[in-house]
């Protein structure tokens, strides 16, 4: 159960979702992945570590570098689950709250 929860925390982050998209069709090295982001390389490494720990990414040794590819089986598990739906509503309701707080202060 704990592991499942971690998976959803993993995909809750926009950078990590972007990483998943990048490696969706091809294996990429950490360097090649990092080149797609403005964030510092160690930050990207941290994201890769989290995604790997949650088994959303698989590591593969290619020469001197490690490359990453998507773990389709795990992605399917996530796709079946409720969390993105909850987050959609959470986002919507957060918006409602901020709109209404502004509305209140204007009055």
């Amino acid at each position: 159960m704990n592991l499942r929860r971690d998976v959803f925390q993993a995909i809750a982050d926009p950078t990590r979702r972007a990483i998943l998209l990048l490696v969706a069709t091809q294996s990429m090295t950490a360097g090649a992945i990092a080149a797609n982001f403005d964030t510092a390389r160690p930050t990207v490494s941290k994201h890769l570590q989290i995604l790997t720990e949650c088994e959303l990414l698989k590591q593969e040794q290619s020469g001197r570098e490690v490359s990453y590819h998507i773990n389709a089986k795990k992605m399917k598990e996530v796709a079946d689950f409720i969390e993105p739906f909850r987050q959609m509503w959470d986002g919507r309701f957060n918006k409602l709250e901020s709109v209404m707080k502004k509305y209140k202060s204007k009055k």
Binding site: R17, A18, L20, L21, A24, T25, I70, A72, M75, K76, V78, A79, D80, F81, I82, P84, F85, R86, Q87, M88, W89, D90, R92, F93, K95, L96, E97, V99, M100, K101, Y103, K104
Partner: protein
């Protein structure tokens, strides 16, 4: 950390419940569902029509980043200010059947309130499909490449 928005969806049932506690007085929470200008702001949709009364109906329209318009509509069955709204909800031009929504608004304290949304779908399969929609959409919007992956998974 306690989550503010909760989803309760039992396996094998064609309904689900969404609950959310707001840092807003009850009146303000309800207003967010009542006033077209406010609905437009928080839902990011255009309100073409909204009749807040029994036998009334509503019609919303959103425009996606590509400029495509998506229509939503429904009929209002019950409208009790600061208490509840019962309505149907339909996404136009989609395979999704109309759904029934019971919205209940409660005061928790002077400054906080709670919304309970009970949604009933046409079938268990329809509910489960709706649950999966945001995941698929989020990914598709970001990139079309993943579509191939999802297709392979099915």
């Amino acid at each position: 950390m306690e989550q503010k928005t909760k989803i309760h969806a039992e396996d094998g049932k064609q309904e689900l419940t969404i609950t959310r506690e707001f840092d807003l007085p009850l009146e303000l929470l309800f207003k967010a569902y009542e006033e077209p200008e406010l609905i437009e702001q928080w839902m990011g949709t255009k309100v073409l029509k909204l009749e807040n009364k029994k036998h009334g109906s509503y019609q919303f329209e959103t425009t996606d980043p590509k400029g495509n318009k998506h229509g939503f509509n429904g009929t209002i069955h019950e409208f009790s200010p600061n208490q509840k709204i019962t309505r149907t909800f339909e996404m136009e031009h989609t395979p999704f059947a109309v759904q029934l929504e019971f919205l209940e608004f409660e005061q928790l304290t002077e400054d906080t309130s709670k919304l309970t949304m009970h949604v009933v779908y046409k079938s268990v399969a329809m509910r489960d499909q709706m649950l999966k929609l945001p995941f698929a959409q989020g990914i598709n919007m970001a990139h079309n490449r993943i579509q191939d992956i999802l297709r392979k998974l099915k």
